[in-house]
Symmetry: C2
Subunit: 361 residues, 2 copies
DNA sequence: TTGTATGCGTTATCAT
DNA sequence: ATGATAACGCATACAA
């Protein structure tokens, strides 16, 4: 039984269910039930089967099972290539939390990279349409789509993480980007800051829009003129947030009237920006207060320790998985289309009162 | 053809090979050939088939294919839970490079977390013995093993990355840890440093042993007494390298005679260590020179910019995949058991000449 | 409660 | 060069 007559041969592929059945002296279907539906088989035979399986070191073949039941147990996470660099500080945590939650539900996590080339899009679509994956969690602002085929039509549940795609009817798990920035900005304004410098990631990206809007909101609320907000960045091609921060230093240097507060879209941007302006003689927070986004662990050890808006990635990841599970089990589409997990502002020494006149240097 | 009579029904699972065959007016086996082995089918029929497939938007079912050929096209990467925190700065790059290389070879990447509990070990073993994955790249110092079943016996190719497991006959891709640290140490010694402080990760880990040995080597070569090396760390339970660095600050503070040079096993450790000692009045590099390991991008923006031994993770990742591919194709086991990819010392301002007497503070 | 038989979607063997 | 057919390993409808 162990070895088949006709086909591949190749490497020994381990004991089969049939082997277990033989050894236990029962039919193969009984083994199948004993494993999947223990309640519906006699305790005695169940014991025999368990013993046989144990003795043979039997492990069910997942591919065969999945093919038979017509479902895969693999979920893919779609990471834009840029994320590996951009918000890279939090990616490991995201993967970790998602994977843990998935495994608890009997699923596995596959990584899919979405770059700007058609090849990667096609690859992802094949994963979806070819039945390799059962669902997707995406960290990209657009769904892969090529030759008229879109991930949206693949018939599998999708959840967007970090970016709100509920407009495109993709359930999304996000943080309160806009409100969190507004809150941080209000706090800065309360400390006397009136001129802001905003370091943006790729323009028109959800994060850019929401977070910048939050800043503008705070200005409106407090009666300040949003005209005194200077934007920097918005370039798509940066590999790292670090580069954006570096470039922002140039922009900042050329300003006739210097802002006293900086809000950066990611910790990386803030870190390299701070490094750059400090090298040119500005002091943080005496001359310039800085707050960024992400809550990377490294912020605590920056010079000075960096205030950051912490994204609750653990919770967000688990929530994304929960929603995915709901979409997959309950046939219904009655699941939330947008979950907002509040972020937390971690105040550190990079923030101080506004300097009176700091156009030195 | 599209819908079958008896079974699941469920969601529409897309066009099948049979549908393509029908539309093209050929047998199903011909379609299979046309797709897999284009050379062995008439150009005309091939065109018909291609047209039909195109029109239907046909995507081959991967699970069925893999089951049939008895091979999965999924490779798993085994990440110790600690790595998500410890050396986390480089994990995204590792994943990125490995995934790219895999996809070029027609494989996909699955993530597997190896924690310290038996559950995660069992899970990984099931992935292996259940045929879900075809091979593994591990970043863990030990192979999952439970109830006598070990990953080593799963009959699938394994490559170790970052850690040398060639002793356990697992082909390994590593960097020249020992030599790189020795070189860095020699350079420091040439600058007058004679008392070193070494911040270690988990004790007896490969990295700890190799890198510390490198430091000792340099001392021997230059006729210095290794007794003037102080070790700190070696604690297993730290979640972040940051914590190790923090703790090292305590150790450092209590030393009667202060070292003038520090070597840390990871950038994270160095970053939090520097932050801590600076807060207590020490100056880098005037009082203390620091070099660490990993080459995290953030080092460039530290205060002062941090010298680091860059691990060539991109090359290492690609190399690991290459070795895996060799193991899988050429039946032979005649593949290298250890590949050493040299690292590069990036010198930055965290290093200076030894202070004459810096036991101030 | 257990056994028999069929099919999941594909590849590969054998004829034609 | 193409077509009919039997597996791959498992799960389920149905009969016993």
């Amino acid at each position: 039984m162990k070895k088949n007559k006709i086909l591949p041969a190749e490497e020994n592929s381990g004991p089969l269910m049939a082997d277990v059945a033989d050894l236990a002296g029962v039919a193969i279907s009984t083994v199948s039930r004993a494993l999947a539906n223990p309640g519906r088989v006699n305790a005695k035979t169940r014991a025999k089967i368990a013993a046989a399986a144990e003795k043979l070191g039997y492990t069910p073949n997942a591919m065969a099972r999945n093919l038979r039941i017509g479902k895969s147990n693999i979920i893919m996470i779609v990471l834009p290539g840029s994320l590996h660099h951009g918000a890279s500080q939090i990616i490991p945590q995201v993967l970790q939390s998602i994977n843990q939650a998935l495994i608890q539900n009997g699923y596995n996590l596959m990584i899919a990279n979405l770059d700007r080339d058609e090849t990667s899009e096609r690859h992802i679509l094949n994963l979806a349409f070819g039945g390799t994956v059962r669902g997707a969690i995406i960290l990209s602002s657009k769904l892969p789509e090529v030759a008229g085929r879109s991930l949206a039509e693949a018939g599998l549940p999708i959840v967007s993480l970090l970016l709100d795609m509920s407009d495109a009817s993709v359930p999304s798990v996000v943080t309160n980007d806009r409100g969190a920035v507004a809150e941080a900005a209000r706090m800065l304004i309360a400390r006397g800051h009136e001129r802001f410098f905003y370091i943006a990631g790729p323009s028109d990206n959800y994060h850019d829009i929401e977070r910048f809007s939050g800043l503008v909101d705070a200005f409106h609320e407090t009666g300040l003129d949003p005209a005194s907000i200077t934007r920097s960045g918005g370039v798509l091609s940066y590999q790292h947030g670090f580069e954006a921060g570096k470039h922002a230093v140039e922009d900042f240097t050329q300003l006739a009237v210097k802002p006293t507060a900086v809000i950066a879209e990611s910790d990386d941007m803030a870190i390299s920006f701070i490094s750059g302006v400090q090298a040119r003689g500005w002091r943080i927070p005496e001359d310039l207060s800085v707050i960024s986004f992400d809550g990377s662990p490294v912020c605590e050890y920056c010079h000075p320790p960096l205030s950051t808006i912490e994204q609750p990635v653990e919770v967000m990841g688990k929530t994304a998985v929960e929603i995915l599970m709901q979409r997959m089990s309950e046939g219904a589409d009655e699941v939330p289309t947008r979950m907002i997990i509040p972020s937390r502002l971690i105040m550190r020494k990079s923030v101080g009162p506004a300097a009176k006149a700091n156009n030195s240097c």
